[in-house]
Subunit: 223 residues, 2 copies
DNA sequence: TGATTTTTTTAGATTTGCCTAAAATTTATT
DNA sequence: AATAAATTTTAGGCAAATCTAAAAAAATCA
């Protein structure tokens, strides 16, 4: 009945985890920026997370999640990404519309619900943005991702994820017929504007700007 | 981002609506009992709901939802029942397991989610307990329900809902092969213990105790 | 190294939703 | 009608999560 963690606590844990992954360490200011709150509020919560054994924290020192904190984070991320997969594949949302709703659904507390949802979706390993979905033990598949800008010529690769989930990006990808899962290879690179030309089976070559290439990640499929 | 109503406010609105439907009027004490809180807390919230134009309220007078309050209640009930239907029909929960989870899911705020879920489920009109699901305008199908104890002899009827969603009831109904949707007719009534004997097609007659009959509601299908 | 800037924490308030105890009001009973 | 009982509201407080302003510590720079 009374939840183990409040939504606020869960949001802090999840974002500490993400920032830790992305930049190795987290600061009070980073967290305040991401959670759209003030540094003073962050400090208050860090103290609370410490008393709940989720965080290692001493005033003015670097802080990081405990093992228990990391496991907790992975379970929240698991729910977030499973719901995103559900929204796109089952309810037919576009993948730029699902994040906000998943931010709410990830806080629904029911072990059974998560496991049944996972089974119904047939245990998906990646969410609609290409991010890996932790399994019920917190393990996730590793993606051998390369930024499209670094993909060598003539290597068959598959689009696995995008940085940024903006509507503008989605619009552009739709226009160019590129999706998560699309197979392509790089045919030309132009030094003038760092644009590249990619080829998808049965389609004519498509030009990709530097900005777009930097937003796309691919996995090499065959040499 | 900031929700229109808090979860606490939504729970009050929904329960005021249900009590109003069930007994014509609501009291501070009733609400406190159902929401597992104290009468003083209820009074606090009633004042808040008044300022939000959801409730007509004057100290010591009877109170009732405004039109806006009733519409709000119906949208919460719509979500609750749609999610219950989803949990049973899509994720294969038993119908005695879904209420708690639906209590959480009903507070997820996304008009689009509700409409997409409704469409995915093919616009169900009754939830797994036989209760009608309001449509997007708040309209719901009326059930012409009769308590099984009052069903005349030899009238073909269909089980439409149950009062109580306990595991114990579910176990008994499973044993007797009775479900929402099961067709039956009453063959005998015994004055000694008010038990009745019902007949389902292709099955031998089954005895139903007074307690069980009072928990089952049916709709007459044919004369 | 000493001064300045940036980051982080503390101090003190505020809002929401809840509590207990006591007062006010309504309803029921003699 | 007067008293007793039940219901409902007020008064005053508490915990969670936030805020602003100010103090403390750390990092940077001259
Ligand atoms: Mn997301
Ligand atoms: Mn995602
Ligand atoms: Mn329910
Ligand atoms: Mn129900």
């Amino acid at each position: 009945m009374t939840p183990n963690l409040t939504q606020a606590e869960e949001n802090y844990i999840k974002n500490i985890y993400h920032l830790q992954q992305a930049s190795g360490s987290v600061t009070t200011n980073d967290l305040a920026a991401i959670l759209q709150t003030k540094p003073a509020s962050v400090t208050d919560m860090l103290k609370k997370l410490k008393t709940k054994k989720l965080l290692q924290y001493e005033p003015y020192k670097e802080f990081c999640l405990t093992l228990y904190g990391r496991k907790t984070a992975l379970m929240i991320i698991r729910k977030h990404r499973l719901w995103e997969y559900f929204l796109v594949h089952t309810l037919r949302f576009e993948w730029d519309e699902v994040h906000e709703v998943a931010e709410q659904l990830e806080h629904v507390e029911s072990k059974k619900l998560v496991e049944k949802l996972d089974a119904f979706l047939d245990f998906p390993r990646f969410d609609p943005h290409g991010d890996p979905i932790p399994d019920s033990n917190g393990k996730m598949s590793i993606q051998h991702e390369v930024n499209l800008i670094n993909l060598p010529f003539n290597k068959q690769a598959e689009v696995t994820s995008v940085r940024s989930q903006s509507t503008e990006l989605l619009e552009l990808l739709k226009h160019k017929n590129i999706n998560i899962g699309t197979k392509l290879e790089v045919k030309k690179k132009f030094d003038f504007d760092n644009s590249i030309e990619v080829k998808m089976k049965n389609l004519s070559p498509v030009t990709i700007s530097e900005q777009l290439a930097k937003a796309l990640f691919v996995r090499v499929v065959a040499s």
